[in-house]
Amino acid sequence: DVKVTQSSRYLVKRTGEKVFLECVQDMDHENMFWYRQDPGLGLRLIYFSYDVKMKEKGDIPEGYSVSREKKERFSLILESASTNQTSMYLCASSFGGPTFNEQFFGPGTRLTVL
């Protein structure tokens, strides 16, 4: 069964802390994505990766960085968390290639920054 897991369902951090959100997929997918979900705004792409150590900025990369050292793992890093980064974070993965391949989503991490 296809599976994307995220390290935490709920996370509470303080302003200025460094925050790591981890995502692991077991489907040997080339592509991995980090989205942010906010009410009324839908999902917005933060960063994506199409191969190990490769990454590209999405639509809202400011304040975030990512790391992909292994094919199955994609980390989202908040270098200095701020209250406006309180949100639901969703990870997804898909096969690569020229045609569209379905993105499979993890359950999400709800991050609260106090």
Binding site: F33, G42, R44, L90, Q103, F105, G106, P107
Partner: protein
Amino acid sequence: AQSVTQLDSQVPVFEEAPVELRCNYSSSVSVYLFWYVQYPNQGLQLLLKYLSGSTLVKGINGFEAEFNKSQTSFHLRKPSVHISDTAEYFCAVRFAGGTSYGKLTFGQGTILTVHP
């Protein structure tokens, strides 16, 4: 600019009634179209997709959607809803061309609430 708009933020409906969730996009290039569903406290799950061919697409759980190129729309329909269809629904578009690596642009979401 390329964008996706879901015209209704919330749609309340009674059980066994029909429902339509509306989605429009803005693009001058070819598109691939998708509907995802998010049940409470879960990730997103693909309902259906349009890549090419017949403009009427059938998905899981009795949902279907029709691609209308002239109106740049991809509305989701179900003839008779069930309580278990209560969820948030997202329209998503992949705009063709470039090296997008399968990047999707999502609409704002529509919360469907089915009442008994």
